[in-house]
Symmetry: C2
Amino acid sequence: MFDKVLEAKKRLEGYANRTPVITSRTLNELINANVFLKCENFQRVGAFKFRGAFNAISKLPDKEKSRGVITYSSGNHAQAVSLVGKLLGVKTTIVMPDNAPVIKRLATAGYGAEIVEYNPATQQREEIAGQIQEKFGYTLIPPFDHPDVIAGQGTAALELAEEIRLDYILAPCGGGGLLSGTAIAAKGVNSSCKVIGIEPEVADDAVRSFRTKVLHTVKNPPTIADGTRTASLGKITFPLVLRYVDDMQTVTEKAIIEAVKFLFFRMKIVVEPSGALGIAALLSGAVKPEGKVGVIISGGNIDAATMNMILNS
Amino acid sequence: MFDKVLEAKKRLEGYANRTPVITSRTLNELINANVFLKCENFQRVGAFKFRGAFNAISKLPDKEKSRGVITYSSGNHAQAVSLVGKLLGVKTTIVMPDNAPVIKRLATAGYGAEIVEYNPATQQREEIAGQIQEKFGYTLIPPFDHPDVIAGQGTAALELAEEIRLDYILAPCGGGGLLSGTAIAAKGVNSSCKVIGIEPEVADDAVRSFRTKVLHTVKNPPTIADGTRTASLGKITFPLVLRYVDDMQTVTEKAIIEAVKFLFFRMKIVVEPSGALGIAALLSGAVKPEGKVGVIISGGNIDAATMNMILNS
């Protein structure tokens, strides 16, 4: 799989941002380690999702490109597919829950995708997407359970690991696309780098799956980290997480909020709750790594109401 | 004066952050130029003020260092003097208005400075500082009207201008320390670079002073950009602004708010209102430069209430 990540990196050159790696004296002193934040909130569309979507869509045969692609997503993956479609001249259709954050829906529509809404309480997004896909012959670009999407997501960790010889790397876990890509990339560069996945405590399906080696699911978990509300790991990501990830830990909602505030007030960067999971794990002590610690800051798409709530709490 | 900025740069090495320069495709497309943001919100204490304070205090003779320093400031300069005092083992006293943003007062006290509060409606900060200074023999480190402070502030523009050959540079203007330092540095690297100072419309004393060549003042102007509420340019900064600055323009409060929002939602960085003046000038069309345009993002210290108000407007 590591060669797929290396290939993805070449494919992304000139399209994805090589995002900055930032550090903080305060953070290093607080947790007694050297922390390197890989800032995918500065990626195009404001999240790492651009990497996987670009890698998967740009690899499609011309015939499939000319018919168009479809996906289902509550947010960042939708924006990513939509922007990649615009850049590559591929028609895009997005199946999106009708309660998705407004900022994410507007941004997705802004890139030119056709949006099909559904009610997540009564409908299955995979079903709706499947019906449209069949009718129009679109190619499905799933949000995480796809080898090319996973390889693309791994390029963020690849850039970081090539820049800094890491002892640890922390990544958030929703469906496991970013986490498994990160693990493959980090271990590919340096096999002794420990990979730790972080999940909200109230959406701990992946942690339970990891510990029991049996796939667990969760239904619409009440976490502020909307990027991790995915029901479960995927058919492809679950075995990859079992194989490449060293440990998984959970963080509380309070720790996530404190992490977003720390990143805002002390580091002056805008990070969405899902993107702050690694920092939440470090600041709360859920993970206590030593040496050089990479953290994937996965995205920065947060709406005004959510940020106001966080800043006031 | 340019040699003083070059000397300050050497003095700051290993102490100040060499702050990142960031760009945005969206911003470049919107204003049809190549914009380079020099991010002093990522500077120590969250603002460019660290540069001037460090340069001025580190240059003092040992005798003055051992007695201590004093300053008056509503915020970022106070934090900067306080942190520099801690780093260099110099006792610091800060005269601060009793209505200063809470986050700034807490941060200043956190570095170990002694804080003396005053009521800005009835008392003059210079007078109070003068009395304490006389009694204890402290050295005054004024917030802007001092050659070593000005030279230190100029190092941000120096780093940017050495990295990118700029056609224009925009900097906010309060007391003129950052603006005159920026102008000296930018012209020193490339004499054809145009320097433009930006001020809030409701606090336009410096613009009027610049245009009439007579010093104008303003009293507690009702601008959200608290870093620019200074009464007037100084005895040293006024002639420097007249000599080195090419033009000055104002921006509305609405434009400042829109700029903070743009920086938050599109660029994912936390910028205080004063720090967003250059972007406000570009986005509102108050300034329409071409080619390579540097913008000094002066700081990122904003409290929750102010950011909530901005995000909701």
